[in-house]
Symmetry: C2
DNA sequence: ATTATTTTTGAAATCGTTACAAAATTACAA
DNA sequence: TTGTAATTTTGTAACGATTTCAAAAATAAT
C-alpha cells in the first residue's frame, strides 16, 4: 500500500495527526523491520528529544485499535508492530532473530471446526532457521 | 495422541518424571483448555499444597524445550500451553475470551518468499467472534 | 484572550516471568 | 544402610514490558 500523506491517512482513519503520531507512523512505513516499542522510541528520541516512551505505547495502541497497524506477538517477551495490515505471515529465525514477511494465500487456508466463526484477524507465525543462517 | 503412562512418556522425552512434572503434564492432557501458568498453578495448589509457582514455570519451560508442549502467544500478556503439539490453529473469541482449536491442512499453506527456510514451528492464530457469541 | 479539550510526559504501579540461593528430594557409591 | 553428590523444588527478590495516573503542554473552541 502506498501512503503519500501520513497526516491525511491518519485523519482518514479517525486519528488526529499530532506531530508524535505522524512521526511514529512514518517510522513504521519507512522501516519495515517490525519494531518493538523500544526500537521506535530509541530511533525517534534523537530527533524528538522530549519524546516519552508512554507516548509511543499510547500511539501504537491507538493505531492498533484503529486497525492501521498489526500487532505481532511472535516473541513471548515483547510486542512488535507492522504497518502492513494485509494478511501475511511472519517467520522468525531462531538463530539470527530476524523477522521475515511471507505471503499467505487466504483462500487456501481450510479452517476445520470453526465454521460460522467470524474471523477478524489472522496471525501466522513460523519459527525456524532462515536461508542465510542455514548456509553459514 | 493417546498417552497411557505419563511418567513413561516424560522419560521417553528425556524428562525425569518427578511428582510435580507428572502432575503438571496430567493437568495439561486432562484439561484441554490451553491454560496459563497461573491456571495450572491454582488448579494444582489444592492437591499439592507445597507447590511453587516457580516450579510450574520451570516445568512448562522444560516441556517446551523438549517439545512436548506447544507455547501459545495469542494473548499479548500471558503465555498459554497446549499438550497437543500437532500442527493446528487457535481461535480466540474477542467477546468471551475462549480459545478454540481448529484443524489446519499443512500442505495447503503456500508460503511465498520463504523457500529454503527450515520451518521448526507453525503457529496459526485467529481472532474474532465465536459461533456462540455471534448468536447471543 | 479564555476556557475547554486533547495530547504528551514522566514517575509510580502492575504483573508476568526469571534469577538465585537455600531446602528438600533423589541417585549413587562405599 | 550411610554418606555424599546431583537434581529438583521452593520462595523471595529482581527484572522488564506495559499500564496507570495526574500534571504539564499543546491544540481547539468560544
Amino acid at each position: 500500500m502506498e501512503i503519500e500523506n501520513v497526516a491525511e491517512y491518519l485523519k482518514n482513519n479517525g486519528i488526529k495527526p499530532s506531530y508524535q503520531r505522524v512521526r511514529v507512523f512514518e517510522y513504521l512505513i519507512k522501516n519495515k523491520n517490525h519494531p518493538s516499542v523500544n526500537m521506535v522510541f530509541k530511533a525517534l528520541l534523537g530527533e524528538i528529544p522530549t519524546l516519552s516512551k508512554t507516548t509511543v505505547y499510547n500511539t501504537l495502541k491507538l493505531f492498533a485499535e484503529k486497525n492501521i497497524v498489526m500487532v505481532i506477538n511472535i516473541e513471548d517477551n515483547e510486542t512488535r508492530y507492522d504497518a502492513d495490515t494485509s494478511v501475511h505471515g511472519h517467520f522468525k529465525c531462531e538463530k539470527c532473530g530476524e523477522l521475515f514477511d511471507f505471503g499467505v494465500n487466504e483462500n487456501e487456508l481450510n479452517f476445520d471446526k470453526i465454521e460460522n466463526f467470524q474471523i477478524n484477524q489472522t496471525h501466522i507465525y513460523l519459527k525456524g532457521i532462515c536461508k542465510n543462517c542455514k548456509t553459514n
